[in-house]
Symmetry: C2
Subunit: 123 residues, 2 copies
């Protein structure tokens, strides 16, 4: 879970605006390939190619019954990307917090150059 290859595939899939639009559509419910293709100004074949990318990256699941293939969101795939982003962002923000605390501490020292440190150290 959160292995680099899968992350690569997911973000590559999310990189294309058409594919993101498809995801947006699918998030409102499962739908057939033809229905999914309908709002896009491109051939059905092109849509199918995008769909393959989405499915191979694990953000979309499809199932064929009879001659119609029904597509739906695979939430784990999206969650993978969310997690990656969240980890990087929170790592950064925690760093910022520590830095802020440190700076505040140094300012205190300037205000109070005597070696008598009364208040407790945060963190």
């Amino acid at each position: 879970m959160l292995n680099p290859q899968r992350v690569d595939a997911v973000f590559h899939a999310l990189g294309d605006p058409t594919r993101r639009a498809m995801l947006a559509r699918l998030s409102r419910g499962p739908i057939s390939v033809t229905e999914l293709a309908e709002p896009f100004p491109m051939s059905l074949a092109a849509v199918v190619q995008h769909l393959q990318v989405l499915e191979e990256s694990g953000v979309v699941r499809t199932e064929k019954v009879g001659r119609v293939r029904t597509c739906s969101i695979a939430p784990e795939g999206l969650r993978l990307a969310e997690q990656w982003l969240n980890e990087r962002r929170t790592l950064w923000e925690r760093r910022l917090d520590r830095l802020g605390a440190l700076l505040a501490e140094e300012e205190d020292e300037e205000d109070e150059p005597t070696p008598s440190r009364k208040r407790k150290k945060s963190r």
Copy 2:
């Protein structure tokens, strides 16, 4: 906040593995361009080009002092992508929940074919 153009730019920036690796490095703290470039098997110019994409998309901020440009994460940019993903995913998952509830209700009806419907209808 969450305007389509910005979302496009952010996801395009995130689409490249080299740029994601740069973000990962930056999430551990600000760093100069040369330091940022060091782990990558490519020219400095290439790294700078990636950096421009990251900055224009709003996931990275840079500031030049003297001759050295220092790069750091811009958490709002990352948060934008996180939000987009989260909205789509939760929309889908809520839909799934409603569907599950509906199916459970229908099964109840089969168990109890009499027209006496006591429990209140959900949604």
